[in-house]
């Protein structure tokens, strides 16, 4: 086993364990901390794929800003343990169907000629350069980029209007 494969397997298992913890934890704050674990593990995998800028953004924006917002609201609302209620029995049917779909996708990826051709093709070892990424972002994708700034502005206004106390 090569070193990248060991690093991949370790952090992949960490991410899956964190995702399972999100489901099993009964305190919302434990779910939030498990989700932070998933995000940090994914940031390491982005580094392994050579996407340095995305790894940094993942840590700063996702694990830093978004999850802090979640933890802040959980603390603010002081909610207790999650109630367990009955859910539809059809959920189990869906679970079986989802598992079958996952097996099918895995089979496609590892065994079909088309899937394996894309997935196992040789990859260059150089990292994605942030300079090239920013050129693409500020030239070809300039209009969507500006549209997201409007979106953020609207989101800020919407959050303010929604959370404001009625006088």
């Amino acid at each position: 086993m090569s070193l990248p494969l060991i690093v991949f397997l370790f952090f992949a298992l960490l991410a899956v364990a964190g995702a399972v913890m999100v489901i099993l934890a009964r305190e919302p704050i434990h779910s939030a901390l498990a989700l932070v674990l998933v995000m940090v593990a994914l940031a390491v995998l982005y580094l392994l794929l050579g996407a340095e800028f995305i790894a940094a953004v993942q840590i700063i924006v996702y694990a830093g800003a978004i999850m802090v917002l979640f933890v802040f609201v959980i603390m603010l609302l002081n909610m207790g343990l999650e109630e367990r209620t009955n859910f539809s029995k059809f959920a189990y049917v869906g679970l079986v169907a989802a598992f079958a779909l996952l097996l099918e996708a895995a089979h496609w990826m590892f065994h079909s000629s088309v899937g394996a051709g894309v997935a196992n093709g040789s990859q260059p070892v150089t990292a994605f350069s942030t300079v090239e990424l920013s050129k693409l972002l500020f030239r070809s994708y300039l209009l969507p980029f500006e549209a997201t700034s409007i979106l953020i502005l609207i989101a800020i206004l919407g959050a303010l209007v929604l959370a404001r106390k009625e006088e």
């Binding site: 996407a51 996952l102 990424l133 989101a155 919407g158």
Partner: protein, 101 residues
């Protein structure tokens, strides 16, 4: 030498599936929100893996936009959760049934 891209895609599928399971099974509004974030993260991993497979930057730009939209969604969503708490006293999704027929 390097890790095959298919491993990343499989991890992405597993994480997305766990996100869907959390979305369906969790009963707290905030944890339902967190499972949406989990699914977005899984899709981001697939985007970066395909960007690496084809050696193109466009996938990375898509990840950037997904993160921006996730931030906006979290801000508005959590404001709605605060409103919900103020008006309904409970954050159980089963109790929020004003629009249910």
């Amino acid at each position: 030498m390097t890790v095959p891209i298919s491993y990343y895609l499989l991890l992405s599928a597993v994480l997305f599936g766990l996100g869907v399971v959390a979305f369906v099974f969790k009963r707290n509004v905030i944890t339902v929100f967190m499972s949406v974030e989990l699914m977005l993260n899984a899709v981001n991993l697939a985007f970066v893996a395909f960007a690496r497979a084809y050696n193109k930057f466009d996938g990375l730009v898509d990840v950037f936009f997904v993160i921006v939209v996730a931030a906006a969604e979290a801000a508005v969503g959590l404001a709605i959760v605060i409103m919900l708490r103020r008006n309904r006293e409970s954050l159980n999704v089963e109790r929020v049934d004003l629009l249910k027929f």
